[in-house]
Structures are given as structure tokens and as C-alpha cells.
């Protein structure tokens, strides 16, 4: 009973304090002042409507030395992947980042069962973790791609505590920490109102801008910083789209086309990471990763290799003698009946190899 009265007294005191503060504080004005920066950053970003940065740069640099800029979706990146040896392409498919992002893209494309409808906030968290991994690599810190989301998120939260960085990097990590905290509260609000979509978007803009400053002050181009910046831009885009929904931020879903586009960009960044060179975006990244229709795999070591999704040809693909092609065919779907092109459904080649020796 005494506890009950004490709790009531606390609640009354708390209400009284809130009412008293409401007379003093103008919360909306305070928020508007904080958002001044994000409004400014958005306006500056939108200067792209009137400014042509590449033309301006080309007007300064000597013509012959201008850095070539491949447009997104150019055949250059696809040709580059087609030029890899079958063994190198298999190794690329095995890279943890490429494997994880390819699986997520396959879900978005409906080629694999998705656990739930595409939540914008879920995608934002995936992008946050990608940014965290890239920043950790840039700082020389271990950050595996195989960690589960909770553990990865804990490590991401620890990044802003890294000391001894230059001012720009420390500022970017501070903003990253603020963004993670706001997203985590939006995802799991608890008591009291969570941060609104405008505030979260503003924080994402601030962070993306801070990363640009880090990159600009770096003595040379750093792949991991470029990957983090590209990822941060996608994050801003996702949060901007989420903001446009009427429902609570946690429930906002993205349309499939946008989801596929962003998941495709994720795979592209994972490939860039694996190859340690920035590739422009690929239009159909899974097709480029999975095309083995003309590959000579006769000397490849395929034990325990996951062939799921690989496109192969009865006539063009050369398998090692240990692979039972009929068993592999039983695990594959024909693209078109009679054309001899198959796509492996699931499983490794182990079963195909074992059945060959046991028959």
C-alpha cells in the first residue's frame, strides 16, 4: 500500500514537472533548430539539379588525364566478371559478403523464400551493418560478415567509442552512433514516443555528409570509405522513402522494384569488396555471378562448393569426372525444355560426387 502511494506521488510529481516544462520549452522550435543542418544538407545535395559536377571537374582537369567514369549499369562491369576464370568466379560466390547479399537479392527477386514482407527499417538495419563493416575495415578493426545481427549491431554501436581518430572521422562516427541509437529506438520504441522519420532522415543526412568530409580529407582514395559512402547514400534513400508512408516507421514497407535495386547495389558493393576494386553497378548481378554455361570446370575443386543458382549447359559446361551430371540434372531446373541450359536448385555437389562413386 505504501509503495502504491509512493508510486502515485512520483507519477503526480512527474506530471507536474512535465506540465511546468511544457510552459517553458518549445519542443518543436528546438527540433526545428536541430533539423536546420539536415535541411541545409538536403538543399546542397539537390544542387545536383542545377550543377553538373563531372562537367565542372572535366573543365579543370587536363582532358587526357580525366578519370574515366563508367555509367551505372554499363557493360564494363559485366564484361569484367565474364572475364574472370571459372575458379575465380566460384571463389567470388563463396565470399561471405557476396553470399549474404546474393541471398538477400534472391529473396527480393522471389527466387528464394523471404522471411517477411520487405520492411524499410529492416533494410535500413542491413545497410547500417554494411556501413559499420566498411568503417571497421577502414579503421583496421575485425568485423566479420558471419556475425548475427544482434552481435553485429553491438559492434557497430562500439565504433563511435574508437579513440585517436582525426576530427572528421571522429565526427562521422559520432553521427553514426546517433543514427544507430535513433533507428534502434524506432525499431523497439519502448515507453514514450520514438524518434520521428524526419529526425532519423536528418541524422542519416548528417552522417552521409560527415562521411563525404572524411573521404575528401583522406590522403588517397580508400575503397572501404567509398563503399561506406555508397551504402550511406542508399540508407538515406531508404529512410526518405520510409518517411513518405503514413504508417509507423517500423511498419513501412518498400516496393519490390526499389528493394531489388538496393539489394542489387549491395551485391555490387560486396563484389567490389571481394575484388578490392570499385566496380560500377551491374544491371543483372546474379546472372553475371551464376553464368557457368561456357565454363571449363574440369580441373576445379568442387568438394563442398555450393552450386545453388548456378546456370550450366549440358553442352557448354565441362565438369570434373567426379561429378555425376545426371544427379546434378536431377537437382536442377531446365530454363527452357530442350535447350540444355539448367539452373541448380539447391545443395552442394557433394551428393552428386558421392552418387557417382557409389553407383
Amino acid at each position: 500500500m505504501t509503495d502504491h502511494h509512493a508510486a502515485d506521488a512520483h507519477q503526480q510529481a512527474d506530471r507536474h514537472l512535465q506540465q511546468a516544462l511544457d510552459e517553458l520549452l518549445d519542443v518543436e522550435a528546438g527540433l526545428s533548430e536541430v533539423l536546420l543542418h539536415s535541411r541545409h544538407d538536403k538543399a546542397v545535395d539537390d544542387l545536383d539539379v542545377v550543377l553538373d559536377t563531372e562537367a565542372g571537374l572535366a573543365a579543370i582537369l587536363p582532358a587526357a588525364e580525366t578519370e574515366p567514369v563508367l555509367p551505372a549499369g554499363s557493360v564494363g562491369a559485366e564484361e569484367f566478371l565474364h572475364g574472370l576464370s571459372p575458379e575465380a568466379l566460384l571463389a567470388l560466390r563463396r565470399h561471405p559478403a557476396v553470399r549474404t547479399t546474393s541471398d538477400a537479392l534472391a529473396c527480393a527477386l522471389g527466387r528464394a523464400p523471404a522471411p517477411a514482407p520487405a520492411s524499410g527499417l529492416d533494410l535500413a538495419f542491413d545497410l547500417i551493418l554494411d556501413v559499420a563493416r566498411a568503417l571497421a575495415r577502414a579503421l583496421g578493426l575485425p568485423f566479420s560478415h558471419d556475425l548475427d545481427r544482434n552481435l553485429a549491431l553491438n559492434l557497430a554501436r562500439a565504433l563511435p567509442k574508437v579513440r585517436g581518430l582525426d576530427l572528421n572521422f571522429a565526427c562521422a562516427l559520432d553521427r553514426f552512433g546517433a543514427l544507430i541509437r535513433a533507428l534502434a529506438r524506432a525499431f523497439d520504441p519502448g515507453p514514450g514516443p520514438g524518434p520521428g522519420p524526419d529526425l532519423i532522415l536528418g541524422l542519416a543526412h548528417d552522417f552521409a555528409h560527415a562521411l563525404d568530409l572524411v573521404s575528401a580529407s583522406a590522403p588517397a582514395a580508400v575503397l572501404d570509405l567509398d563503399l561506406a559512402r555508397a551504402c550511406a547514400r542508399d540508407l538515406v534513400r531508404v529512410l526518405d522513402l520510409v518517411r513518405g508512408h503514413d504508417c509507423p516507421i517500423k511498419a513501412a514497407t518498400l516496393n519490390v522494384a526499389t528493394l531489388i535495386e538496393i539489394r542489387t547495389a549491395e551485391v555490387g558493393r560486396a563484389i567490389s569488396l571481394a575484388l578490392q576494386r570499385m566496380l560500377p553497378a551491374l544491371r543483372d548481378v546474379l546472372a553475371a555471378l551464376n553464368d557457368f554455361t561456357a565454363a571449363d570446370l574440369s580441373n576445379a575443386e568442387l568438394a563442398d562448393v555450393d552450386l545453388k543458382g548456378i546456370r550450366w549447359s549440358e553442352h557448354g559446361t565441362q565438369w570434373p569426372p567426379s561429378v555425376d551430371v545426371d544427379a546434378l540434372k536431377a537437382r536442377s531446373d531446365a530454363i527452357q525444355p530442350g535447350n540444355g541450359i539448367w539452373v541448380v536448385r539447391s545443395g552442394t555437389t557433394r551428393a552428386c560426387i558421392e552418387s557417382r562413386f557409389s553407383s
Partner: protein, 160 residues
């Protein structure tokens, strides 16, 4: 060097243009000055130690010179340049981002301090660049934020 400059240019030319707009320049003037300063930065790249601070400071001075000089009447729509190929779209951008333009309505010192702050500089940096005590910068920044917020809330169409 070209690669480093390219990274720097791509990361800063828009924000430098925005910085000059905040200081009171029209978009076409801001783009012209930003490009001129970038050309200077490229020519002197190896002699400059802090490239971002250098271009912001040089751009500020160039804008002051521009404002102080007697200019010929400016045409309604300026000529296209490499960096500004579609000057006819300036009005559309200005209409969309009147919030940025509100900064220009502040008193000169507040506008200057807020423009540097929005450019990513700390009060201590700003104090060095514009030759004022850091406390004066902080005091003006506080006033500038309050006044810009008030102006934004009064702006037509702003939801409250």
C-alpha cells in the same frame, strides 16, 4: 594528384556553392566563384596544406570582392557554364529550398558564422578563418540558429 583533386572536387563543389549561397550569393554567382576557386586550388594543389579550409576562405574573399565591385547589369537568366549547364532550373531549385535561402535573411555576421558552421567548421576553426574571438563566433551562432529557426517557422507553407 588528379585523382586526389577529383575526389576533393566531387565531395566539396556542391557544399562550397551552398556556402556561398548562404553568404548571400545568387546560385549562378556562387557556382562561378566555386569553379574559379577550384581552378585556383588545382593550380596550387601541392602548395596548399588544408584544402577545404583554403577553398572556403578563398571563396569568401572572392565573394566579398564580387559584391564590392561595380558589376554590369546581370541578365535575367545567366549563361550556361560547365558546372552550371541549366541555369534556367535555378528558380525551381530556389522555390524548393527556401529554407536555405532563409539563412540569407540573417544579419551579416550571423549569416557568415552560420554559413561556415553549415559548411562543417567548428567555432574555433571559424574564429581563425574570419579573425574573431571564438566566444563571439559562438554567441553569433546561437543567435543565428534561433533567428533562422524562427524565420523557417514563419515561412509560408511550413507545417507547425
Amino acid at each position: 594528384m588528379d585523382t586526389k583533386f577529383s575526389v576533393f572536387y566531387r565531395a566539396n563543389v556542391r557544399s562550397l556553392t551552398g556556402f556561398l549561397i548562404n553568404q548571400g550569393a545568387g546560385v549562378h554567382v556562387a557556382a562561378d566563384i566555386a569553379q574559379e576557386i577550384m581552378i585556383d586550388a588545382y593550380r596550387n594543389w601541392t602548395d596548399i596544406s588544408h584544402h577545404k579550409a583554403w577553398v572556403y576562405k578563398a571563396a569568401s574573399r572572392a565573394l566579398v570582392r564580387k559584391v564590392a565591385s561595380v558589376e554590369e547589369p546581370v541578365a535575367d537568366i545567366p549563361e550556361p557554364t560547365s558546372l552550371l549547364p541549366h541555369p534556367d532550373q535555378i528558380a525551381e531549385w530556389e522555390a524548393k529550398h527556401d529554407a536555405l535561402l532563409l539563412v540569407r535573411s540573417l544579419p551579416p555576421r550571423q549569416r557568415q558564422v552560420l554559413a561556415w558552421t553549415l559548411g562543417g567548421f567548428t567555432p574555433t576553426d571559424i574564429a581563425q578563418h574570419i579573425g574573431l574571438p571564438a566566444e563571439t563566433v559562438r554567441a553569433n551562432l546561437k543567435l543565428a540558429r534561433r533567428n533562422a529557426t524562427a524565420a523557417h517557422r514563419k515561412a509560408p507553407g511550413e507545417e507547425q
